[in-house]
């Protein structure tokens, strides 16, 4: 039963990724749609990370006791300043660990 479920899940994730790459699908992507789609990466990825930071235990958590919020603010500043993925991960990750320990 578990195996069966895993195979069905694999079909679902693969289908969602592959579906629109298939050439015989009758879709034409014009200039307008193409421009619209060019915003998909910042839109989707932001919609993933922002709720992780601002919503803790199903509630809006905009306060200084929220280590996610403080560490994410540091991450935003470091990423603007350095543009380095490594530095952003290291500095804000370290800050997050410290905040978890001391808050």
């Amino acid at each position: 039963m578990t195996l069966m479920t895993i195979f069905l899940l694999a079909i679902i994730t693969f289908f969602s990724r592959y579906c629109f790459l298939h050439p015989s699908l009758p879709i034409k992507i014009g200039a307008k749609l193409s421009n619209f789609l060019s915003f998909s990466a910042p839109a989707v990825l932001t919609a993933i990370w922002v709720p992780i930071i601002f919503i803790r235990e199903d509630r809006l958590a905009i306060n200084l006791n929220n280590p996610y919020l403080i560490a994410a603010t540091i991450a935003v500043l470091v990423s603007i300043k350095t543009k380095s993925v490594y530095l952003t991960l290291a500095i804000s990750g370290g800050a997050f660990l410290l905040l978890r320990l001391y808050l």
Binding site: R17, S38, T46, I48, W49, V50, A72, I80
Partner: protein, 255 residues
């Protein structure tokens, strides 16, 4: 530089561009692997999750659902909702990928995670054989890393404490911050990010099921509208200048 060397260099670039993301998902991968073991999956089943399903969020949510004996249809529907953002990725990359042979198309399709998509927003990614090597190498290295971190979680699973409340989701958030924030270089991108952030928090608090995809679509449309408004403004300014020029020349003609 001969062709072979070019391929090697671009594949290497793919590997090194993906490397920070490969490392950033260590905690998340270990969590997924260990959770499967702790929730009663066999080692083989726990291995198949990253190897075949290959999707962090789906793995995590579904493992909990399966452990609670949730009906199959609910499990599949939940997985579909979480995966639905990938339809957007496929659509965005369609132009570049649809012309490839089945083997390469299917490979890119299988490897098309959030992380690979984030790297592929580069206009040149995937287009042409050489760029394809970049994508497949970046995506392939991410797949192997994901598998490896899951295996570590599976092996260590029974010795580790429950990791679900340790705040490992911060690693995901900060990875996306590092990828997105430095790329906000114009107004449409800024509008997109702000709208996506605001909508996703509101929809999430309202516990809308399609919160993620819905916020993304609204944000994309906002970005698109901003481009249109800016273009119209630029056109108007240009035509104003053109009009002035023609008026002036007419005046010169009459004098």
């Amino acid at each position: 530089m001969n062709k072979k060397q070019l391929y090697f260099n671009i594949a290497q670039k793919g590997f090194f561009d993906m490397l920070p993301l490969n490392l950033a998902v260590i905690p998340w991968g270990i969590l997924c692997g260990s959770l499967a073991i702790q929730r009663g999956f066999s080692v083989f089943e726990a291995l198949l999750m990253p190897a075949l399903v290959y999707a962090g969020a789906v793995q995590l949510v579904v493992i909990e659902l399966m452990a609670n004996n949730t009906p199959l249809i609910t499990i599949l529907f939940t997985a579909f909702i979480i995966s639905s953002r990938h339809f957007l990725y496929g659509l965005a990359l369609r132009k570049k990928v649809k012309g490839l042979s089945l083997k390469w198309r299917a490979s890119i399709g299988f490897l098309l995670t959030d992380e690979l998509f984030a790297l592929s927003t580069n206009k040149k990614a995937f287009k042409g054989q050489i760029r394809l090597a970049y994508g497949v190498c970046a995506g392939g290295s991410f797949y192997l890393s994901w598998l490896l971190w899951n295996i570590i979680g599976i092996v260590a699973g029974s010795y580790l404490p429950d990791l679900t409340n340790l705040g490992l989701d911060f690693a995901i958030a900060v990875t996306f911050i590092a990828l997105i924030i430095p790329n906000i270089t114009n107004l449409p991108a800024l509008v997109t990010v702000c709208v996506a952030g605001a909508c996703s928090v509101i929809f999430e608090l309202l516990t809308l099921q399609l919160s993620l995809v819905l916020s993304a679509l609204i944000a994309m449309y906002s970005g698109y509208l901003t481009t249109r408004i800016l273009a119209r403004k630029a056109n108007r300014q240009k035509s104003d200048i053109d009009n002035n020029v023609t008026n002036e020349s007419e005046e010169q003609g009459t004098s």
